[in-house]
Symmetry: D2
């Protein structure tokens, strides 16, 4: 049972007129964290997966607790709160270098297959192999 952890540096393109991260950029960083997790930990790189499958985000809850500024390096952590048949409830938090939480929340991802040359999608259960890989990141909320 462990967190999936990556670092990301706050860049000029992320910040707004107030000099702090524009919050939709934080969600791009979250998407990048999920992307890295699928590639590095679950052996399912988006570059392969997205011809036939996707993992759309269906629910998102975020608390923005502390602004992040240009040049800061954030530590992004992801874990699984609950694994369903075709969905995952993941927890996440982004911390600054002093360990303060900039944002935290939870996101629900659904495993889907594309039908009819991307014209439609339907939920598809995770394979047993995927479930086993995912299970290493399950940290149930107490």
């Amino acid at each position: 049972m462990s967190y999936f952890i990556k670092e990301e540096k706050i860049r000029f393109q992320h910040i707004d007129f107030a000099g702090i991260v524009f919050y939709p950029r934080f969600l791009e960083m979250l998407n990048g964290l999920v992307e890295d997790w699928f590639e590095e930990a679950l052996d399912r790189p988006f570059s392969k997966m997205h011809e036939t499958n996707g993992i759309p985000t269906v629910d998102l809850k975020v608390q923005f607790k502390k602004a992040a500024r240009l040049g800061e390096v954030l530590t992004k952590s992801l874990w699984v709160k609950n694994m369903g048949g075709a969905s995952l409830l993941c927890g996440f938090k982004f911390e600054d270098q002093a360990g303060a939480i900039c944002l935290e929340g939870e996101v629900t991802l659904v495993n889907v297959a594309f039908k009819d040359n991307k014209g439609g999608i339907k939920a598809e259960p995770f394979s047993e192999e995927m479930k086993e890989k995912i299970s290493k990141y399950v940290i149930p909320t107490i």
Copy 2:
């Protein structure tokens, strides 16, 4: 008591490899809705406000219910669920042309003043004039 309503067309820059809106782009559209509301309904355009003040998003909850595709025109609605002294809990929904909800949720905004040439921020109560303008958009959840 009314909704603040704007339309937005789904453009090429919004969509991903699956041909649907990349969800951080939906949050840019939500930010744009808040921006329009402040300018058009509350007489507080970001272009004036952001020299001295801001309204950072501190909490966000979104359910993504239906994918949106290139060329669709969404109707974005915003309203106030609860007005605090220096914060607003707003509801929002984005509907497609058939009236189906693509996403809905709530967002908490805090009115802040910048201190020390943008080095710091602190919460600042809304003026009576702002409260009156905001009150027209209060639609309490039943």
Copy 3:
């Protein structure tokens, strides 16, 4: 012979820490201008076209002449400097409300067809119908 003209308002998501448009956002606005031109003037909406075809940008030259700030409304103009068999050399300029040019330049677009379910692309000549529609926007440089 005429320009294709659209307006775009500078929004919070476009500007950077200096309070001016971050230049990659100007290129998103340029892409949007081409997108509108194809849909509104050439009857070839990206939402239809992108299943089988695309018009990638292969060459871009831009002079950024004047910063644009939050709240400004820019007038974006596009025209054709030269029409090749499968390519277009287009001129463009973005002007502020006082008529000052914020940016101007030229962009080369190539008409391509996707092969093998998006795995490859090849140049494809414009149809006679497309050529006729495009010809209305040809303004050769003197």
Copy 4:
């Protein structure tokens, strides 16, 4: 005399419906390359500089030669073609892992100082110290 070189991986947020990098994202990557060069090679991190100064892009020429796809790692190179008193003409190229050039071009940056709390800007010559650091990256075009 050397190139400033960084790698960047193509991520889901960079690509479009055709599965290739949306070209404004390439310009974000170029901006990131300049940002890294200023921080790592010129000891002038944007996080410090942007309170009082900036280096806006005033001219950009790009040839897009080869599409880049999700998961590819590009090698981004930057060098100085000509150093003026307050401006730099830089060359750049992005290559894929096989050494093929995806894009190349040149960009003109101007060193400016902000006046009147960001209300205005004016060109400011580079210091001798900066010139010396920059000179290491001068590779004149033959």
